[in-house]
């Protein structure tokens, strides 16, 4: 192994009276990538922030050792270092890329100024030199037309382009260490593949040591040389990546591996039974009118989309952000008004449904933290549809019984009924959302990225629950997702959307066996494969091409 860049040992982090990270140790060497995996709340971000002296949570205490050895310079102890030392190191020897590219760039400064900032401070470059270097960096991260983009403001770039710019900011001073904290979580799958390949390529060129934090073991398998698995502040597994996948040392790692959604080469879900059509959507067309400084602009969010959902089956709507899949859901539930088209559910027009008839379509939203009123207990949340539509027998006692049944149906302890949302975990909240949707006794349930913000192991359980409910209650799902591995597990038919248009609409088995459209093929190849390493180092080399026009 070559020279060590960051050596962490005996790292403890406490916030208030709570212990967040206990006895953490790891090393990253030049040209190596350490992947830190764990579910939300496992302390993975906190440990890296503490190791790099960035932690600023009130009441936090850090102990242990974190030694940074920039090549050709004296080692620096980062735990307990004063602000001056940290300022000298941050941005120079250590670069950071965070999750959300839309908030980690300053909206008031051009991209070029933000890349040049650290160069002017740490390297004493003039404004003009920094600008020249910024253009080089933007070119290196594969942003098209860097000489023009250097003067762009963050809002003029797409999400993927912003994350590329953020990487350029982080790498401007050629840091010895790059910390990437969930850098692709907020991005589309195809963009994620590009960013992974970009970081790998830059690392090979410059020999940067990388610490890559993610909740997705599949992704870590593609980027990391060593893997550190964290759970509740403890290290449970620490091995080279190949060994983690081949023979995981700890049961928890095995669970994580098993829970990971994967594309299967074999069959896929059973073909759609010859069920009667439940929902028929024809020529759906939604146009949004937006006010911009240059006048009103019409955005064609959904462009002439038609599909049929059969009773008791699942149709998946797949596409990247901006493809119009959520807009279709909102049109069906009456949140937006379509410009044209019809949607007939069981013989009745859904698009012009009255308030009383709104119970035929239920919706489960993505964010389990925002989709339940924080001031309502679990019972009150599930009671609302029962009360509004006089379901479950009308009386208060009958409704209470029904709520108990619903909680059991979604495998929640009925004792939770008096809890408030902030006392529940993300998975439990999503189960409450599902119970609330079932309370409507709907014909169709729309699942709008319903599992996308859950940890993988919880996601697997919620998906299993949804499949079980479909089998037992004969539910019909409209399943909106961007992750094709999950789609394959869940759906009978798939409709791929791009820019509001239908790209491909086929039974799932056929689509996964032989995807016709190049866009579908691109989506498929962006799913991290089962074996570690094969994707980023080999197959996906084609993604390095600056094709990031979206």
């Amino acid at each position: 192994m070559s020279e060590t860049v960051l050596a962490v040992s005996g790292l403890h982090v406490d916030i208030g009276r709570r212990s967040i990270v206990r006895d953490l140790a790891f090393e990253v060497a030049r040209d190596q990538t350490l992947g830190i995996v764990g579910e939300s709340g496992s302390g993975k971000t906190m440990s890296v922030l503490a190791a790099t002296g960035l932690i600023d949570a009130p009441g936090s205490r850090v102990s242990g050792s974190s030694l940074l050895r920039p090549p050709g310079a004296d080692p620096v102890q980062l735990v307990g270092a004063d602000r001056r030392t940290l300022r000298r190191v941050h941005g120079d020897a250590v670069g950071f890329v965070f999750q959300d590219p839309s908030t980690s760039l300053n909206p008031l400064l051009t991209v070029g100024r933000q890349i040049g900032e650290s160069l002017e401070i740490h390297r004493g470059l003039t404004r003009r030199q920094a600008r020249a270097r910024a253009i080089e960096m933007l070119d290196a991260v594969g942003l098209p037309d860097p000489a023009r983009r250097v003067d762009a403001y963050p809002h003029q770039l797409s999400g993927g382009q912003r994350q590329r710019a953020m990487i350029a900011v982080a790498l401007a001073c050629d840091p010895a260490l790059l910390v990437a904290d969930e850098p692709t979580t907020a991005l589309d799958v195809t963009t994620q593949a590009q960013i992974v390949e970009l970081v790998n390529a830059l690392q090979r060129r410059k020999g940067t040591a990388v610490v890559w934090i993610s909740h997705d073991l599949g992704l870590i398998g593609q980027v990391a040389d060593d893997v550190l698995v964290m759970r509740a502040g403890e290290t449970v597994d620490r091995q080279p990546v190949v060994d983690v996948f081949a023979h995981p040392a700890h049961g928890y790692t095995r669970d994580l591996l098993a829970a990971r959604p994967r594309l299967r080469a074999d069959g896929g879900p059973p073909a759609a039974p010859d069920a009667p059509a439940l929902l028929e959507v024809d020529g759906l067309d939604v146009v949004f009118s937006l006010s911009t400084p240059t006048g009103r602009v019409a955005v064609h969010a959904v462009d002439d989309v038609s599909f049929t959902v059969r009773r008791g089956t699942t149709l998946a709507l797949v596409g990247e952000s901006g493809s119009g899949k959520s807009t279709i859901a909102n049109a069906l539930t009456g949140l937006v008004r379509p410009r044209a088209g019809t949607a007939v559910l069981d013989g009745r027009d859904v698009l012009r449904a009255r308030r009383r008839d709104r119970r035929q379509i239920a919706m489960v939203f993505q964010d389990p933290f925002a989709s339940i009123d924080p001031r309502c207990s679990v019972e009150e949340a599930i009671d609302e549809p029962l009360r509004v539509h006089r379901l479950g027998g009308g009386g208060r006692a009958a409704r209470r019984t029904r709520i108990g049944e619903l909680l059991e149906a979604v495998e929640l302890d009925p004792a939770l009924r008096t809890r408030y949302p902030h006392e529940l975990s993300g998975g439990q909240r999503q189960r409450v959302s599902i119970a609330r949707a079932l309370a409507l006794e709907p014909e169709l349930v729309i699942l709008d990225e319903a599992t996308a913000s859950l940890d993988v192991s919880i996601q697997a359980r919620v998906l299993a629950l949804l499949r079980r409910l479909q089998g037992e209650l004969g539910l019909t799902y409209l399943f909106i997702a961007h992750d094709l591995a999950i789609v394959q597990e869940m759906s009978h038919e798939v409709l791929v959307l791009q820019g509001g248009r239908t790209v491909e609409y086929e039974p799932a088995a056929e689509l996964f066996r032989s995807p016709q459209d190049p866009y579908t093929q691109r989506l498929l190849s962006a799913v991290p494969p089962t074996e570690p390493g094969q994707w980023s180092r080999g197959r996906a080399a084609e993604y390095i091409a600056p094709r990031d026009a979206m």
Partner: protein, 302 residues
């Protein structure tokens, strides 16, 4: 992945230190508790004025005129020999009554306007908020003066005038909070379920915007007391011989050099009450604003 899953584990509450109850945080701030005590004292003595007052409100005793504070007359007497302590008690009663009713009026009217405008949007929103803008453009006292000038000066005119002046503030705050709550997924869920609008507003929107409203209410009470004093001082509020804090000050004006106690005691009551309401409002804001709250919690654990 097994199909047969056990019940989802319940989140252990004991493991994660539960959030401190709001009221405990609230009471942990000494300044807030002090202001709360002051307000309780002021309100209690104002309410109990008829029983604890040693003399009649308008019991004139010319022989005892302009007496300095003494054991018989704690706050001294005025130019007609009336006991100032008694008059301050009854004045505080009037002032608090005016403040409470006018702010309640502003809260209800402004709150309803704001919540409806914010939720409905469109033309209704534009119309209501432009009217609010126009009302904001008037200086507060000028608007109140105009209202008093149109109607006869008196207790209810004063209440109405102050209420109108504070309505736009509440309308604006309620609308801004409603706008943020309206777009949250939990409101959208209710919309897709076909919950009636009135039910969404009452059950989901209103409980989630109470924080800023409580803060604004307690701050407005302070300013309403000051406004009442100002109007009465100008002779347009509560009409003599009924005592009000502003009226007492107006009366004391002519005797500034002769009887300092006539202006000091009503002035101190106005000052202390307004300050206490302000500090209480700050205390509420610290507890109800999540960001502020995290800072206090962190400070406690250190």
């Amino acid at each position: 992945m097994s199909e047969q899953q056990p019940l989802a584990p319940t989140l252990p509450l004991g493991d994660d230190r539960p959030r401190l109850a709001s009221w405990r945080l609230f009471l942990s701030n000494g300044l807030t508790v002090a202001s709360l005590c002051v307000l309780v004292t002021v309100v209690a003595s104002a309410l109990l004025a008829p029983w604890i007052a040693p003399y009649g409100v308008n019991a004139v005793d010319v022989a005892q005129q302009l007496q300095p504070p003494s054991a018989a007359h704690w706050f001294g007497t005025d130019d007609l020999g009336r006991d100032l302590f008694t008059r301050v008690l009854f004045a505080a009663r009037t002032s608090l009554l005016v403040a409470a009713i006018s702010v309640a009026f502003a809260l209800v009217v402004g709150g309803v306007l704001g919540i409806v405008a914010g939720y409905a949007g469109g033309i209704l929103d534009t119309l209501v908020m432009r009217i609010v803008d126009v009302m904001f453009a008037f200086p507060v006292l000028l608007l109140a003066l105009a209202i008093v000038a149109i109607f006869q000066p008196g207790l209810w005119t004063t209440i109405f005038a102050i209420g109108i002046v504070y309505t736009p503030i509440f309308a604006r705050i309620t609308r801004a909070s409603t706008l943020t709550v309206r777009t949250t997924p939990f409101v959208q869920v209710s919309q897709t379920m076909g919950t009636p609008v009135a039910s969404i507003l009452a059950r989901h929107v209103l409980p989630n915007i109470t924080g800023p409203l409580i803060v604004q209410t307690s701050l407005s009470l302070a300013f309403a007391i000051l406004s009442e004093a100002a109007l009465s001082f100008l002779g347009l509020g509560i009409q003599p011989p009924s005592p009000s804090l502003g009226g007492l000050l107006f009366n004391a004006q002519g005797f500034l050099t002769l009887a300092w106690w006539m202006s000091i005691f009503p002035g101190v009551v106005i000052f202390v009450t307004a300050l206490a309401f302000n500090l209480l409002g700050d205390g509420f804001r610290d507890v109800l604003d999540p960001r502020q709250r995290t800072i206090i919690e962190a400070r406690r654990t250190r």
